[in-house]
């Protein structure tokens, strides 16, 4: 556990006298390893450590009574600030349906999250329509249909049309039938798949989503910045959703993705059931990453 070991390390230094620049740099080496072990991106860690060491090697730290506590606090505060602020608020469209589009790599949890979001928003008084825009994965439409049925939310699908057409038609259907929230579940895809990345731009053009959320698996490693960077570059993201936080992955990818996209984490997935969706808490994520 980094914060305990950081404190212990500084404790050892302190009994020998005052904390020095060298002591602090040594202690931060341990923070660096902890962050990398937590899968935070290499460059993001480099910038973070530089930032914290500049803040802690200052005069006031070295003169204070319990300097090691202060450094631990700086690390935690800095991480929390980077992860936050908490922002679960969705900017609903003032007129017409609010269209939410979910995108991301294969298997990160988009389809499950689409149903979770639909359920959450319906409990908050919205009238949602789920849209099965993944026509390439075997039984993807069926998966969303079954989930929709389990929460009594209708699912729009059309196995003969292309994803952009499906989404455009679904929005028209929603306007006609009075659904004020439309959730577009798209097929998982690689950020380096040009035609499929172009398809996302096409969906955006045809369906004009109000909110585009990048869904990411919290156990993603160093590659998180590559994929997130590409998705963010191709479309204007409005937010991030982290999934599978019920596992024991430290989730450093969250920090990397936040750093490279600059977008807020709106929600997190904490299990396979429909109710397993929570608001994001930056300070909890920060201490999870630190271990």
């Amino acid at each position: 556990v980094i914060t305990k070991s950081l404190k212990n390390m500084f404790e050892g230094f302190r009994t020998k006298g005052k904390l020095t620049d060298a002591n602090i740099r040594e202690g931060l080496k341990e923070v660096r390893v902890a962050l990398l072990e937590a899968d935070v991106n290499f460059k993001v860690v480099k910038d973070f450590i530089k930032n914290v060491s500049e803040k802690s090697v200052g005069e006031e730290i070295l003169k204070s009574v319990r300097p090691e506590q202060q450094i631990v606090k700086i690390v935690q505060d800095e991480l929390t600030a980077l992860m936050g602020p908490s922002d679960p608020h969705i900017n609903f469209s003032p007129s017409g349906p609010t269209i939410i589009m979910l995108i991301g790599l294969q298997g990160c949890g988009k389809t499950t999250m689409a149903a979770k979001l639909a359920n959450l928003l319906r409990k908050k008084g919205r009238n949602p329509l789920l849209v099965a825009a993944d026509v390439q994965r075997p039984a993807a439409v069926e998966q969303l249909r079954i989930l929709g049925k389990s929460i009594n939310v209708p699912v729009y699908s059309d196995e003969k049309a292309s994803p952009p057409e499906i989404c455009a038609d679904a929005v028209a259907e929603a306007s006609a039938k009075g659904y004020n929230t439309v959730i577009l579940d798209t097929a998982g895809r690689l950020h380096i798949d040009q035609p499929l990345m172009e398809e996302l731009a096409e969906i955006r053009k045809k369906a004009s989503p109000n909110q585009i959320y990048l869904v990411a698996d919290s156990m993603t490693g160093q590659d998180a910045v590559n994929s997130a960077g590409e998705f963010a570059g191709k479309l204007d993201l409005d937010g991030l959703i982290l999934t599978k936080l019920d596992g024991d992955a430290r989730g450093g990818a969250a920090l990397s993705i936040k750093a490279v996209t600059g977008k807020p984490v709106k929600f997190v997935g904490v299990g396979e059931k429909i109710d397993d969706i929570e608001e994001f808490h930056p300070e909890r994520m920060a201490s999870r990453i630190l271990g």
Partner: protein, 278 residues
């Protein structure tokens, strides 16, 4: 990476960055570099390109230390149990393996032992039709071990050469789900001595250090015999398998390089190691 360079601090820092970015993990990368520093002093390796070649050979050798071939039953059906955490590519990898064996003229059967997730059985069923394999299924929400039991029976009775058992995704931290997986394996071995002949853990190549925990726990519960590294067609390097091969002692046997049936390859240490440095 500029070749023919002097081995200096800057070179070692650059090397550490490459290894960490390839998901080798900071501690594993640090050990690789300190071992390497000790070795090159002894061998008087003068430039960085020679050092790089030496390092790549070490990685290749480590990946080859365990048998990377699939184990088959001496007679009767070969049973392959496939497990892993949620969304890594188990069902798709089974579809690919089914195609792989069908292509060799083998009779293949699939067991839809994911009785939990929405449309999991439908997904596997579509794969069975796609590749021409039989499928054994139970009822939605039913006992997954019962499906495995029936499938082993059917595989033997109908002369299937290979039986691939699909299981629900489960986080290794869920004790009850890991117990359930242990039960599925237990039922298979009781039904057919020697089975399962292969226990494959599917890992997502984009996963970071948590893959080591996944490997450790799954091996403890169902004695994993091989890794199937899926989604290697992305930009993630999958370097975490080096630590898994060394510390958890499970060989990488197969890789997934796409979403189509033919996007499966037998693991090749040479091209994998080259990929780490690209």
């Amino acid at each position: 990476f500029r070749i023919r360079r002097k081995i200096d601090a800057e070179f070692l820092e650059e090397l550490e960055e490459i290894l960490i970015k390839a998901d080798l993990g900071p501690k594993f990368a640090a050990k690789v570099i300190s071992d390497m520093q000790r070795d090159y002093k002894d061998r008087k390796i003068e430039d960085s390109s020679a050092l790089l070649a030496y390092l790549k050979e070490k990685f290749r050798a480590n990946l080859r230390v365990r048998d990377t071939s699939l184990r088959f039953a001496p007679e009767g059906p070969t049973v392959i149990l496939v497990a892993g955490v949620n969304g890594v590519g188990k069902t798709t990898s089974i579809g690919k393996l089914a195609w792989f064996f069908r292509n060799q003229g083998k009779k293949v059967m699939l067991a839809a032992s994911d009785t939990y997730r929405a449309a999991a059985v439908e997904q596997l069923d579509l794969w069975s039709r796609r590749v021409g394999a039989e499928i054994v299924r139970g009822s939605q929400g039913g006992d997954p071990a019962a499906v495995a039991f029936d499938a082993v029976d059917a595989a033997r009775a109908r002369g299937a050469h290979v039986l691939l058992v699909d299981t629900a995704g489960r986080l290794h931290t869920r004790e009850n789900l890991m117990k359930e997986l242990g039960k599925i394996k237990g039922v298979i071995s009781k039904k057919l001595p020697g089975a399962p002949h292969e226990v494959l853990l599917v890992l997502d190549a984009t996963t970071g250090q948590n893959a080591v925990e996944q490997a450790r726990t799954f091996k403890d519960v169902i004695d994993v015999t091989g890794l199937f590294l899926a989604k290697l067609d992305g930009t993630a390097k999958g370097g975490v398998v080096l630590a898994i091969v060394e510390q958890i002692e499970i060989p990488v046997k197969l890789v997934g390089i796409g979403e189509k049936q033919e996007d499966v390859e037998v693991f090749d240490p040479d091209s994998f190691v080259e990929g780490l440095f690209q």
